[in-house]
């Protein structure tokens, strides 16, 4: 075995230069070379107690796959990851590793933790580029399962069941499979060809994907059982976007992050041949501090905005976004207006000419400055308004990225499906809902969370469905 690499810092991820990438939609991070991957792998101490695995929601055998990289056996590394994760090329890119596996890494105590996410991405990309083995469709076991939604939880659940011989149909409301991976996360962070490849793999395994079917409308959960499905997994995702309830949110130029990102990502309005319009250019304020806010801000920048602000009511330390996304956003020139809370969105109104085309469009946003007070129940310091600190920023577009509330479609058409006070579907440790043979996972259960936790829930449910239907 090669000698351990005791460098305190990890191999730097090659990226497109910030000044260049701010004007294109190509992927920001370019990925490790084979040499960089082997060098980074050599930083892993192969700890016996494997703290990193504890930090992984799907319990990837991290030291084991990293050992294979050290040996140059990249396909071997892929096969180890593949035992636990069905979407490594996705997770290597979008997982918040710094709060999961990498947060537990022993190397992180003194220096930087091993770049586990970067290595996962390297292995998945290597496999997608060089491995030629087409997935083999297993023999059918005669059982049929319906999966609602083709986002991370649905794809994972479908994949795990298909590998065991289940005949799986995935019902997707939109016209393209992938859920948030397609409509939410931008191309520059997760190229859509990677998602398409994952979907193709499932199809090769025998999974049938029906787009343009809204469960709760086109078909109900009960009808799925009548059609012969023996179990249903609901991975319908988060729901309706939240707004602040302040004046001016109905003005033209105010978007939810979901709408703004859907226009750009799903409907491709950043490309010249798309028929879907989106506001481009001008000054943009994104309200919120999560990954979705970063995605919206960086998308606005790439669409040609002259200035983009992130407006967040707490400080840098409380930003819920992945650290890397915040760093990338700062490098690209996004301006962070922290400890700031919007109080009103202001619009143009020409009282002398009601036909003035500028009427009803955003011209600015009034904000108030905040300071951090006492910690709340979750331990996060509560932002408190500073009296008489109002000010206005000049903007043309405001993007609200402050979370979502559950979608009512499935709940309202599925009798006996219990939800909690926030509207999330209630499940037990197996992902089973209050309805017999109906399972759920992902944001539909937890509210807005991460791709990997949704995948984890899909895996748990797939396992439970297999146990239940094998009886």
């Amino acid at each position: 075995m090669a000698k351990a690499n005791m460098s305190l810092t990890r191999n730097v991820m090659p990226t497109q230069d910030a000044s260049v990438r701010a004007h294109n939609f190509d992927e920001v991070a370019l990925g490790y070379s084979e040499e960089q991957a082997i060098d980074e792998a050599a930083r892993c101490l192969n700890c016996k107690n494997m703290p990193c695995v504890d930090g992984c929601p799907v319990k990837i055998h991290i030291p084991e796959f990293i050992s294979k990289i050290k040996e140059g056996d990249f396909e071997g590394a892929y096969q180890i990851i593949n035992r636990s994760s069905s979407l490594p090329a996705v997770c290597g890119r979008v997982c918040p590793q710094e709060t999961q596996c990498e947060s537990k890494c022993v190397r992180g105590i003194k220096g930087e933790s091993v770049g586990i996410g970067r290595l996962e991405r390297f292995v998945a990309d290597w496999h997608n580029t060089f491995a030629s083995d087409a997935p083999v469709r297993p023999e059918s076991n005669g059982h049929r399962v319906a999966v609602v939604g083709s986002g991370p939880s649905g794809l994972t659940c479908a994949g795990d069941l298909a590998k065991k011989g289940y005949e799986v149909t995935v019902f997707e409301a939109l016209h393209t499979a992938g859920g948030v991976l397609v409509y939410g996360i931008p191309e520059f962070r997760l190229p859509k060809k990677i998602v398409a490849k994952e979907v193709d793999t499932l199809v090769a395994l025998g999974v049938e994907i029906q787009t343009n079917v809204v469960i709760g409308k086109t078909l109900t959960v009960d009808e799925l059982f009548e059609m012969g499905y023996e179990a249903v997994f609901i991975g319908s995702g988060a729901g309706l976007p939240n707004f602040m309830g302040i004046l001016g949110e109905g003005l033209n130029g105010v978007y939810s992050a979901n709408e703004f990102l859907t226009r750009s990502n799903l409907m491709k309005s950043y490309l010249s041949d798309s028929d879907t319009p989106i506001m481009k250019g001008g000054k943009v304020a994104v309200v919120g501090g999560g990954n979705v806010a970063m995605d919206a801000a960086r998308t606005a920048l790439r669409l040609g905005a002259e200035k983009v602000y992130i407006v967040y009511r707490r400080s840098m330390d409380e930003l819920p976004a992945r650290r890397e996304e915040v760093e990338h956003a700062e490098e690209e020139g996004i301006e962070f207006r922290l400890l700031c809370n919007p109080t009103e969105i202001v619009g143009y109104h020409n009282p002398d000419d009601l036909r003035d085309p500028k009427n009803g469009f955003v011209t600015g946003m009034k904000c108030v400055r905040m300071e951090l007070g006492e910690p709340d129940a979750k331990g996060r310091r509560r932002p408190v308004e500073i009296p008489n600190s109002e000010f206005e920023i000049e903007v043309d577009t405001v993007i609200m990225s402050i979370g979502t509330s559950p979608n009512p479609l499935i709940k309202s058409t599925t009798e006996g499906l219990e939800v909690n006070s926030r509207g999330g579907i209630i499940v037990n440790e197996d992902g089973l809902t209050s309805r017999r043979a109906v399972y759920a996972g992902g944001d539909a259960v937890t509210g807005a969370a991460t791709v990997i936790s949704a995948m984890g829930a899909g895996k748990v449910a797939a396992k439970a469905i297999d146990v239940a239907l094998s009886k």
Partner: protein, 284 residues
């Protein structure tokens, strides 16, 4: 892909299509809508269901050519296919318990009002229909309305057919003469619906309006279709795709809805011109 079974030109700018979509046809009720995409690069547009034929598994849509997408759609012929067609979306119009109803339709909105009038007629309700158009050339569905209405008033802005004037004129006349409707259901341009509400207000007649804001997914994800409602002195946000498209007309902030409808006006004009030029080029 979804097959166009047949196509009929109803007037110079209004087209009727029957689309093969058995799952949608098996569920769709009056007042619900579908979302379609003409082709791979197309935008998603919502259109209200104008009728269903369960035996053929087909859904009828009627649309006016106003922008690039409807222009493209108008060049599709029977036997051709649409890229995407999803539904039925939204909540069906609540008709239970209604015995005497006034349907007020404007322009292409009459196409959506018709299945509601027919459903009410089939339920045995007394149906008064007021349908309005800019002029005689734009008149659609008169015979169909005649067949399901106890009373029918046809209005044109220029008096070239039926009576001259707005749809609100006969409505006011009837209400002032003491007609008691359980409900007025109105579908058409926002400005018309706003004035229908204003006309009904002094008489306290309930008004249901069918809203048609800009939408993308239509399933309660993007929030683009949000409307402001004024209820008990509070401003509340509702989403036309999952909470509507029908709303209590007295609560809707029509001015905001009209303003929001113009958000992409300029973009749409350019896109429509470009699409028209494209088709002209093909003809040449």
């Amino acid at each position: 892909m979804y097959k166009i079974l047949d196509k009929k030109i109803l007037n110079p700018t209004v087209v009727q299509l029957w689309i093969e979509a058995p799952l949608v046809a098996s569920k769709a009720k009056p007042g619900q809508f579908i979302i379609l995409r003409v082709d791979q690069t197309g935008e998603r547009i919502p259109l209200t269901v104008a009728g269903v034929d369960k035996t053929r598994g087909a859904v009828k849509i009627i649309y006016q050519v106003v922008g690039a997408t409807t222009e493209k759609l108008s060049h599709k012929e029977a036997g051709e296919y649409l890229q995407d067609f999803v539904g039925p979306l939204g909540v069906a119009t609540h008709l239970d318990g209604l015995k005497k109803v006034c349907i007020v339709g404007g322009g292409v909105g009459c196409a959506i009002a018709l299945p509601i009038a027919e459903a009410l007629h089939d339920m045995g309700a007394d149906v008064t229909s007021i349908i309005g158009f800019r002029n005689k050339d734009l008149l659609i569905l008169e015979d169909e309305f005649k067949a399901c209405s106890n009373t029918l008033r046809v209005m044109t802005d220029d008096g070239s057919y039926g009576e001259r004037g707005n749809v609100t004129a006969p409505l006011r006349e009837m209400l002032e003469a003491g007609e008691k409707f359980d409900m007025i259901i109105t579908i058409g341009p926002l400005i018309m619906m706003k004035f229908v509400v204003a006309t009904a207000k002094p008489h306290g007649t309930p008004v249901t309006v069918s809203m048609n804001p800009i939408m993308i997914d239509g399933t309660g994800m993007c929030g683009g279709c949000r409307l402001t409602l004024h209820r008990n002195g509070e401003r509340i946000t509702k989403f036309a795709c999952v909470d509507g498209p029908d709303f209590n007309g007295y609560e809707i902030d029509f001015d905001e809805a009209m303003s929001r409808g113009r958000m992409y006006g300029e973009f749409e004009r350019h896109a429509h011109d470009a699409t028209c030029n494209l088709f002209k080029g093909e003809v040449r």
